[in-house]
């Protein structure tokens, strides 16, 4: 039985799509057959982050409307085996998603995949609710600033009241906090919330802390999930997060201000 994981946040621009791409890639690298679905109908981005934008022929909405089969719409990742992408439609809007349609697609995917990652759109409206409705687990992507934390809190409330598990009275959706764009220097300067602050407000288990890194922007622009950049701190932090998602116990890294060595200072490297 496939595990359905929604990557959500409420707020936009916090790193949902980057995290969806990285985590899906990480799960596939760990040997699990994984599909990542872009629920952001009308604002398709996942294909760019995954570097498969030129291979999109059919999309999620085509499959829901039965204009194409799932196999026609699924794009096999070129770099990572066992990884597939189901892109969103760029020409429709969120109303094209129906609960029955989404359920049918997820059920069909569940027959062959181990993990289904749902990349949620921002907001708390239909698109976001559709992405989280069928979830077994949620990765709540949060930036260390107050508005992002409040929006995450809101989305956690929706997860526990409007998901299928909540409606059926089943075990609640598993909650994981993924703190992105973390900058220990700015935390130390009091300009950013610390990990402890965010954990205290949201009171859910911490899956990972992704340090703010130039590697993320570079990876996005190149269409390579940042987790594949193992030289970068962000890539390593995502790798850790995936291992924790799979049940591993790992220390959190990159939380402290690192003293730059002589050469690093000289070269200005990050």
């Amino acid at each position: 039985m496939a595990k359905i994981i929604v990557v959500t946040s409420g707020k936009g621009g916090v790193g949902k799509t980057t995290s969806s791409a990285a985590i899906a890639t990480g799960l596939a690298l760990s040997g699990f057959k994984t599909v990542v679905i872009d629920f952001d109908v009308g604002l398709r981005n996942l294909d760019l982050i995954m570097g498969c934008e030129r291979r999109v022929v059919y999309d999620f909405v085509n499959v829901i409307k039965q204009e194409a089969t799932l196999n026609q719409a699924l794009i096999k990742d070129k770099r990572t085996s066992d990884l597939y992408i189901l892109p969103a439609s760029q020409t429709r809007d969120k109303d094209a998603l129906t609960q029955e349609g989404v359920e049918a697609v997820l059920n069909e995917l569940a027959e062959t995949f181990d993990y289904i990652i749902c990349d949620s759109p921002a907001g708390i409206e239909k698109g976001a609710q559709m992405a989280l409705y069928f979830a077994d687990a949620a990765i709540v992507v949060t930036n260390p600033e107050v508005s992002s934390v409040r929006d995450s809190d809101r989305i956690l409330g929706i997860l526990q009241s409007k998901s299928r598990r909540a409606e059926r009275g089943e075990a609640p959706v598993e909650e994981h906090l993924l703190l992105t764009r973390y900058n220990p220097e700015r935390v130390q300067a009091g300009e950013m919330l610390s990990v402890a602050d965010v954990e205290e407000i949201l009171a859910i288990p911490l899956l990972g802390v992704i340090p703010e890194s130039e590697a993320v922007l570079k990876a996005s622009n190149q269409g390579t999930p940042v987790i594949l950049d193992q030289a970068s701190e962000a890539g390593q932090a995502y790798q850790d997060a995936v291992q924790r998602l799979l049940g591993g116990q790992l220390e959190h890294r990159f939380l402290e201000v690192q003293k730059k060595g002589f050469f690093q200072r000289l070269l200005g490297a990050k």
Binding site: I124, R150, D153, R154, G157, Q160, S161, I201
Partner: protein
Amino acid sequence: MSDLSFQLKGSVVSIIILELYQFTPAGFADQLRAKIDQAPQFFAQSPVVISLEKLNAPLADDEPSQLLALCREFGLQPMAFRGGEVNDAIRACGLPQLPSSSRADSELQMPAPVAPAPQQAAPEVVVKTVVEERVVQRPAKIIERPVRSGQQVYAEGADLIILSQVSEGAEVIADGNIHIYGPLRGRALAGVKGDQQARIFCQHMAAELVSIAGNFMLSDSLRKQLWQQPAQVALNGDSLHLKTL
């Protein structure tokens, strides 16, 4: 069993009774609006039975339909009338009329297994609803998970006990006392139906607003005393007082 498409059963349901004393559209609308503003979510789409037993003058002409239209406008769903005089005006608006409560409370007879004797213009299926109304102590409402931003919890006619946190932007409301065994960062309103004895207890006071029987205090004033400490809030005259727990 499998070839049956349905079964008729008798059931006792708790339901909101709107006991009408007098009816003028404007006065009724004002009072209903005030009532519903206290807890909009609680009343949304609530079925109600309109009791006419204590009505001073029977409804006539288009008054029943005006009454129903007002109820629906405010999101209530009138199900039936109860008691009162049976007249054409009430019959004309299409809702069933239930017998008055004294009869319903004392005679809890089972529905007859055979079809009831055909009455004049009897509907084809008779579903009998027995409405019970009693003054009982309601058990406290207990919430074990965090109340998140944007969520609202209301304990009607009871105390509210929260074993987790109340986030900023969340609202917890009770007709009785409120106990919170985690941080209170949102709003807590106790005694919303006017109970001045109601109190709020919390393990970590960081509220946006606390209110007892309509008297409230904002976080700016709360910050001056017992902020982020265990505290209880009580009403003393017209002002709220904080004490340590």
